[in-house]
Amino acid sequence: MSGTLVLAADPMLAGDIGLVEVVLTLAKVVVAFAFLLVAVMLMIWFERKLLGGMHQRFGPTIAGPFGILQTLADGTKLFFKEDLVPDRSDRFVFKLAPYLSLIPAFLAFAIVPLGGDFNNGGQVEWWGRTTYLQVADPPIGILLFLAMSSVAVYGVMLAGWSSGSKYPLLGSVRASAQMVSYEAALGLAVASIVLVTGGLSTHDMVVAQAAEGYFGIVPRWNVIVTGLVPFIVFMIAGTAELNRPPFDLVEAEQELVGGFHTEYSSIRFALFFLAEFMNTITMSAVIVTLFFGGPAGPVLVSEVGGVGIAWAWGVVWFFLKLFVLLFCFVWMRATLPRFRYDQLMDLGWKALIPVALGWFLFLTALEVGRERGWNEAAVTIVSLLVFAGAALLLVRAVRSGRRARDREAARADEPSDPVEERA
């Protein structure tokens, strides 16, 4: 990996590229693509069934056993619906937008390690080639995920803007503000992970988490190593990034009728729907990779009939962890009411970003202290004191800002009225 352009840290691609390498890579792409599509179908069914259970109703029951083919039926139906493009819309952008939100969801999934025996480095040996069970392991690693989630904002934003009507416009204004501000918190939480891992590659992150745990039983997952705070920040910011409840203001059916996709129908609407659930799966997969050790886990049976299946256990662990996270997302949807726009902004800027930043600096201090050989307890105490002081200052700043605003409002004779002021 020196000197030349490195496309991926995957050992298979380090040497000569022949037919086998190309075929293997294509096969991985196809498998990941197919997996994601099937997973979306099952996820929609799972969410509806689970919500139904939590609501004490049945959920889908008609299409297929337990209604498992419901999504397929819905998709087929939507596919044959008339494709409406509103007169006032910007036709090109209107048609482009669904793809802008769909494609990043696929691309981001490429960096997720899906399996492998991480007790032995996580590689698999197929046709004499050593490779990873992930579509790509680019050196920029997790940054690709952040980039893709930024691109996905455009899909939502442009969809609302190009519809040429008011509800979608309001939805897209909400979308751009919400996603841009939560991306910052998301990035800061990722920074903590990068700090403890020492690299951006998702494969390396999983390798680091597969190392010997604490007391022999507690795994060395980043959720523990980084002290839970980045995980909570990432989970909240990730939910907001996905526009899932309680942060689904972008769609807010009860307020904006459907938000950015009000004017969409037929297969274009289905694409948005697909993208949303695909993003949910991708986000959960990324959380598993970053915080819960990805496919890392014990190998219970290493071979069956002479065929090594140690790598398959990685797949099993990965899916179990993914499943738990997806359950949590559905659970949140069933429990929490929706935030209001300004409260969402407050939470993002006044709570999540300062906390994520402060915690990142705290982890940095610990890291530096460890390198220089300082007393760890002293570093912790001093850092936490500084942390608390900064938090106090921040709270006071917010309060005094609010007081100033109140004074301003009280000084004006009438309650502030933008219309009158302009006139």
Binding site: L51, M54, H55, Q56, R57, R88, G164, K166, Y167, L170, V173, R174, P245, P246, D248, L249, A252, E253, Q254, E255, L256, V257, R333, A334, T335, L336, P337, R338, F339, R340, Y341, D342, Q343, P415, S416, D417, P418, V419, E420, R422, A423
Partner: protein, 429 residues
């Protein structure tokens, strides 16, 4: 500031940029100029038409909102989409048929409409209702109040994104409706309370049914507390939103939870007792802040109070007739029709011509779940009312909406509509 004229040649030329000019125009004029994408005047303020078919406008309420960003500067409710002329229809229906008409007005609490109508008719007739009938009326009305507030919790929860609450609220309401069905044969629009008493006696095992209902709903209310009342997002969304003071509420004629939420303890059940409300023990729930949260909490706790009243009614229910024995208003029993020609004629007369009511006018009011529900009736001595007017609490409460929504966000507006809890059938009649 550039001024664009809309009416090309008209006596009254309306400036496009004049604040909220559009909200003062007729709908036809507004439609003509509303939302022209090429008009530069559209840039800063957006006129958003919410409804009449919108997920959270409680049926067919339509709001014209003038928005600056997401802030609602002014709003104007437009009503009438459900107007079916029920008050006028009432002038052509006999007093016995009238119940089927008024029960369709406030369809979430139909028994209260029937009660007010029956009370008014009975006052004109000057007849006494048997004690058991009065207790049955109280029982059914309090259960209906619980059902209506459960519906509020369900829809209000859904409007704020707590989708589970929608199903939970309906689940409990369903149990109440099931009891109504057992008693009256119908889940809604019962026509159960009629002039002179009620349509049928309670079923034999009503005590155990009602006791089961209380046992079922009370712990569920505590679950709602866990799900919503203590939920930080829920509190954030409702507290300090849509504030109205007691003076403003009185000035606008608001009643019910809207008025009590503002801190004024006005409840007709206590202040102008009707039925036997002076014989039962219950609290009038009052708020302090007059915000959406207070209105929510009042309704939640009023369910508890209603169940408390119902529990007392189980013990207090006397035996006796369920309708007056006054032959003038009560048809003969079914068995008599088979053996007596006079009874058959009497029965026929009552249901075709109806009974004559002495001339006069009367106003009877009850405390419905939404506020003061009054029936003003004028009789000219015939068997149909000369004039029937209903003082609909939803209609009067709705006029607080522009006041409550001013300078809030769209999301607040949704919470406010929910907390006013208008039933459009009651508004438009």
């Amino acid at each position: 500031m550039s001024t664009t004229d809309i009416a090309p040649t008209g006596a009254e030329r309306v400036s496009r940029r004049e604040p909220s000019a559009v909200l003062r125009m007729s709908e036809a004029e507004a439609a003509e100029i509303g939302g022209d994408p090429d008009d530069p005047g559209d840039d800063e303020l957006v006129l958003l038409n919410m409804g009449p078919s919108h997920p959270s406008t409680h049926g067919v309420l339509r709001l014209m909102l003038e928005l600056s960003g997401e802030t609602v500067l002014r709003s104007k409710p437009v009503i009438g989409y459900l107007h079916t002329g029920m008050e006028k229809t009432g002038e052509n229906l006999t007093y016995l048929q009238g119940g089927t008409n008024v029960t369709r007005m406030d369809y979430a609490s139909p028994l209260f409409n029937e009660l007010a109508f029956s009370l008014a008719t009975e006052q004109l007739l000057g007849i006494e209702v048997p004690e058991r009938a009065t207790w049955i009326r109280m029982l059914m009305c309090e259960l209906n109040r619980a059902a209506s507030h459960l519906l509020f919790l369900a829809t209000g929860g859904m409007e704020l994104g707590a989708v589970s609450m929608m199903i939970y609220g309906w689940r409990e309401r369903e149990e109440v409706l099931r009891f109504f069905e057992k008693v009256s044969g119908l889940r809604m629009n019962h026509n159960y309370i009629r002039p002179g008493g009620v349509a049928a006696d309670l079923p034999a095992d009503w005590r155990s049914d009602v006791a089961e209902l209380i046992e079922l709903i009370e712990p569920r209310l505590d679950e709602y507390d866990t799900l919503l009342t203590g939920q930080p997002i829920w509190r954030e969304r409702l507290q300090g939103v849509g504030i109205i003071s007691a003076a403003e509420a009185v000035a606008l004629g608001a009643t019910g939870p809207l008025l009590r939420g503002a801190g004024m303890a006005w409840d007709l059940r206590r202040d102008e007792p009707y039925l036997f409300y002076d014989q039962v023990d219950f609290d009038v729930i009052v708020g302090i802040h007059g915000d959406c949260y207070d209105r929510y909490a009042i309704r939640l706790n009023e369910i508890r109070e209603s169940l408390r009243i119902v529990a007392q009614i189980i013990d207090a229910m006397p035996s006796g007739d369920y309708r007056t024995q006054d032959k003038k208003v009560t048809p003969p029993p079914r068995a008599r029709i088979d053996e007596s020609m006079e009874a058959l004629i009497h029965h026929f007369k009552i249901f075709t011509e109806g009974f004559k009511v002495p001339a006069g006018e009367v106003y009877a009011a009850v405390e419905s779940p939404r506020g003061e529900l009054g029936v003003y009736m004028v009789s000219d001595g015939s068997s149909v009312p000369y004039r029937l007017h209903v003082r609909a609490p939803s209609f009067v409460n709705l006029q607080t909406l522009p006041h409550l929504m001013q300078n809030g966000l769209i999301a607040d507006g949704i919470a406010i509509i929910g907390s006013v809890d208008p039933i459009m059938g009651d508004v438009d009649r």
